[in-house]
């Protein structure tokens, strides 16, 4: 239908026209004034304590202690169950977070500004690999690290980014795609490029050589550092496309460990939810699918803008990592996803596919028609809080979300 095609083209145009720039790192409450005491933003669509999975609860208990809202984890747990904390989706406040994805007042948040439209999006700094809060970790080691990030790394990064006058992100992505990154499970190239770019400013604005060494070391050891930057970028790129009447394009995909939610431009901020699926993938030694937590995180925002599993053809090494087949089959994933989108992104191209642009702008009509659900590359958390990552795999967005969205979208066009 002409109206829909035009609206979809407008949505794609806006997504592609964005100029995402990492402009600052600031304390949560400075970026999001609503982050008062006891307010905890989480990944995924809205959810209450009763229905939260283990890692999410574990992270909440940890962050409550970190923020000083509870003396210890037990008290935090009681308060959470008693309704003392206010839980909201990151997405409702211009933020995103990977895995449990908690955002609170004191955590430093990366600030990405979309200079083409003036909007901003936020994401906390990636804690690194292993036992971390985003996988539900909440012991002393985790909280100490969060404190160091809050007191040292966050401010240092902020100074460096401001000194650099912001870092344009589109060119970084373009380069990373030629270097084997897909920006979801593989971020090592972009993490390295970003560090390389910020190193002089980090040095110039460091308070001491020791501090500089610690920051460089922390970022340098974390292959996934750039994930959080990419996620904030994704949110910054999709927000201007969020409420175009008549558009069937997806503007958000997100999971809270219990439900998977999508938003569609033509239906504005409505969430369409369905139970999350279990990731299918490869496990680190000693772990198996018995240990896996259901799918969780806002990181599917990356697939929403054509990266991650959609750009798998750029990252053959990821295919094996997520247990999705042979590296030589990486392009098959990208070609598959090309069947359910509006069009390619000419700024982000994949050399192995003769520089085809990453498939961008998921059209719910095409998803429902083909039964091809968006594929997402994801880390797999242990179902018990605090254990950490146990593997990586692929997961599909539940078709049911798109079917519900289609019915609701059709209703906005007066079609039943």
């Amino acid at each position: 239908m002409k109206e829909i095609e035009e609206a979809n083209q407008e949505v794609l145009r806006r997504m592609l026209a964005g100029e995402p720039t990492l402009v600052d790192v600031v304390p949560g409450v400075q970026a999001i004034p609503d982050l008062a005491d006891h307010v905890i933003l989480h990944a995924g669509p809205p959810i209450g304590w009763d229905r939260m999975c283990g890692p999410l609860r574990g992270a909440i208990m940890g962050v409550a202690v970190f923020e000083g809202w509870a003396e210890d984890l037990d008290e935090a747990g009681e308060k959470a169950a008693a309704g003392s904390f206010m839980f909201h989706p990151n997405h409702h406040f211009g933020a995103v977070g990977p895995m449990t994805g908690l955002t609170t007042k004191s955590q430093p948040l990366l600030v990405v500004e979309n200079k083409a439209f003036g909007n901003r999006a936020y994401c906390a700094i990636n804690e690194g690999l292993g036992k971390v809060m985003r996988f539900g970790g909440n012991d002393a080691e985790v909280l100490d690290r969060l404190r160091w990030i809050k007191e040292v790394l966050g401010p240092a990064l902020g100074r460096a980014v401001r000194e650099a006058d912001g870092i344009p992100l589109k060119p970084l992505i373009a380069r990373g795609l030629t270097m084997g990154d897909e920006m979801h499970q593989r971020n090592v190239a972009c993490s390295t490029l970003l560090l390389r770019q910020l190193a002089p400013e980090l040095a110039r604005t460091a308070k001491s050589t020791e501090e500089l060494a610690a920051c460089l070391g922390f970022i340098g050891r974390n292959d996934q550092f750039f994930l959080n930057v990419a996620m904030a970028m994704g949110k910054a790129l999709t927000d201007p496309a969020r409420s175009i009447d008549g558009s069937s394009v997806v503007t958000a995909m997100s999971r809270n460990g219990t439900e998977f939610g999508i938003r569609v431009s033509g239906t504005g901020d409505r969430w369409f939810t369905a139970p999350v699926e279990m990731p299918v993938g490869l496990y680190f030694p000693g772990f198996s699918e018995r240990d896996a937590n259901p799918d969780i995180g806002d990181s599917a925002i990356v697939e929403t803008i054509g990266l991650g599993a959609f750009a798998m053809a750029a990252a053959p090494a990821v295919v094996g990592y997520v247990g999705a087949g042979r590296a030589s089959e990486a392009a098959a994933f990208t070609r598959s996803m090309a069947e359910i989108v509006v069009g390619p992104n000419p700024a982000w191209t994949i050399p192995a596919m003769d520089f085809a642009g990453v498939p961008t702008g998921i059209d719910i009509r095409l998803v429902v028609e083909t039964g091809l659900a968006p594929t997402i590359n994801t880390g797999i958390a242990h179902r018990e809080p605090g254990v950490g990552q146990v593997g990586a795999g692929v997961v599909k967005a539940p078709l049911n979300c798109f079917e519900q969205a289609l019915v609701a979208f059709a209703a906005t066009m007066d079609i039943k």
């Binding site: 598959s336 069947e339 039964g371």
Partner: protein, 493 residues
């Protein structure tokens, strides 16, 4: 007490040939009485119901779900069979086609991958075929619909839309076409030449094209119109467009039209158009007598006659010797045909010899099977009642085994007629299979035809030899086979 077990696999599609292969494996497990794996369309549920294996579980399936249905002698056997079916579903086995996750899932994506595409060959379940055809037409593709079970109103609407777009719809229920030298669906490898065929019958096209090939000539194009194109409702839309196309096609110098007799109004429509063509036509409306033909057209009452008329020469290499019946056998002829057109033609040849015939696909003047009495019985094993949920006998020769053995065992039957069809899509060695059933069985004369060429994967000469060595008489054409049978029982064809 038999148990019926049903399971549904949501939103699972495997093509019908793969499913039938699995169904057969399950059905052949000890203690399993009947099994079917099939998409949950309403038509398919009916056939599961008719087969006595649809339970409330399967009935709840939606059109995109796969139903696994079976009847077993007891619960334990049934559960084991279900488990085996699931195992086979998860590992359907390697197929020849390069299918990977990256294969296009839609016609739209396929056309993006091959922008020069100009023909969609559609063989999805009939319930979905027209929608896919419409998408293809919307992308500017001509369409060949192999699928059957398409409601006639949908065929009419689709063909009208296609005509408005200048696009051809071959089908529904179009089993054979040869376009630009490419054999499509069930078709034989025949040389290129100057004879064009327009056929409502797949096996009709197959026999005529093969007879032409064996005479050293060739086909320009064979356009399938679908079985119902000459119905009053459809009004010969595809046939008329095909005549236009072959008229404009410089390579084509002679056109053969093959169909069962059309409705009178449609016959007139078609023949009026034939009259306006500058090219000579051979009109084979099987069984039609005394058609008023235009000057550029000649009638042929059988497929063999159609070949001879357009070739201008005989196609039989000498008269087959008269064959005596065994004294301990009766004088009834039993025809067991994979090709519906061959079944119809045999009935017509017998009727012309004033012999009573009965059939499950009776032509006008022939009796239905229930009233067979002492008539010669011609069975179309490819008819709906045999093929819903089961493979077509052209793909799977075992379908004919039961009826063939029954004919041998019936002392009233003196002659058996059967057709072996070669070419793409057909079984890789049908003659070997038939020979296996004939082996060691005395009794009726077996008169067979082999529709094919030596360029077919099965190689006609080798197939003929296998049948002759097994004791069968191989006739040059279906009409000849019927005539041999008539001669053998002491009548005149």
């Amino acid at each position: 007490m038999s148990v019926i077990l049903n399971e549904i696999r949501r939103a699972t599609y495997l093509d019908s040939i793969v499913l039938m292969r699995i169904s057969r494996q399950i059905a052949s497990l000890p203690g399993v009485e009947e099994a079917g794996l099939i998409l949950g369309t309403p038509a398919n549920k009916d056939l599961l119901r008719e087969a006595g294996i649809l339970g409330p579980g399967g009935d709840a399936a939606e059109a995109g779900d796969l139903i696994l249905a079976l009847r077993a002698r007891d619960e334990a056997t049934g559960e084991a069979a279900v488990a085996e079916a699931k195992r086979l579903l998860d590992h359907p086995g390697a197929s020849g086609a390069p299918a990977s996750i990256g294969s296009p899932r839609t016609i739209r994506a396929a056309v993006k991958a091959m922008p020069a595409a100009n023909l969609a060959l559609i063989s999805v379940p009939g319930h979905f075929a027209v929608a896919e055809a419409r998408k293809a037409l919307g992308l500017g593709l001509h369409v060949m619909i192999f699928s059957d079970n398409v409601p006639i109103e949908e065929e009419v609407a689709l063909k009208r839309e296609a005509r408005d777009r200048g696009l051809l719809v071959m089908g529904p229920d179009c089993g054979t076409a040869i376009v630009g030298g490419a054999p499509l669906a069930f078709a034989n490898v025949v040389p290129r030449g100057d004879i064009g065929i327009i056929g409502a019958s797949g096996t009709g096209i197959q026999e005529v094209s093969c007879l032409i090939a064996r005479a050293g000539r060739g086909i320009s194009h064979a356009i399938g119109t679908g079985a119902r194109d000459l119905n009053a409702d459809v009004g010969a839309i595809t046939t008329l467009m095909a005549i236009d196309a072959l008229d404009a096609n410089t390579v084509t110098r002679h056109v053969v039209l093959i169909s069962k007799p059309p409705a009178t109004s449609v016959a007139k429509l078609v023949l009026d158009r034939v009259a306006r063509s500058p090219k000579p036509f051979t009109i084979c409306f099987l069984g039609a007598e005394d058609l008023p033909l235009p000057a550029n057209a000649r009638a042929a009452s059988t497929l063999k006659a159609a070949a001879e008329t357009c070739l201008g020469q005989s196609v039989t290499t000498g008269q087959a010797k008269p064959q005596p019946l065994r004294p301990d056998r009766g004088k009834l002829v039993r025809g067991l045909f994979a090709g519906g057109t061959f079944c119809a033609e045999a009935q017509i040849v017998f009727q012309r010899a004033r012999l009573a015939v009965a059939s499950n696909a009776a032509v006008p003047g022939a009796s239905p099977l229930a009233d067979a009495k002492g008539a010669h019985v011609m069975i179309d094993l490819g008819a709906d009642e045999f093929t819903r949920g089961r493979p077509h006998p052209m793909i799977e020769p075992t379908v004919r085994d039961g009826p063939l053995k029954a004919a041998f065992a019936d002392p009233a039957v003196g002659v058996i007629l059967l057709d072996v069809v070669l070419g793409y899509g057909a079984h890789p060695d049908p003659a070997r299979h038939v020979a296996g059933v004939l082996a060691g069985r005395g009794g009726p004369l077996v008169v067979a035809t082999v529709t094919g060429t030596d360029s077919d994967p099965q190689r006609r000469t080798a197939q003929v030899r296998t049948l002759v060595e097994a004791g069968a008489i191989v006739a040059e054409s279906n009409a000849d086979a019927a005539a041999i049978a008539i001669g053998a029982i002491g009548e005149t064809a």
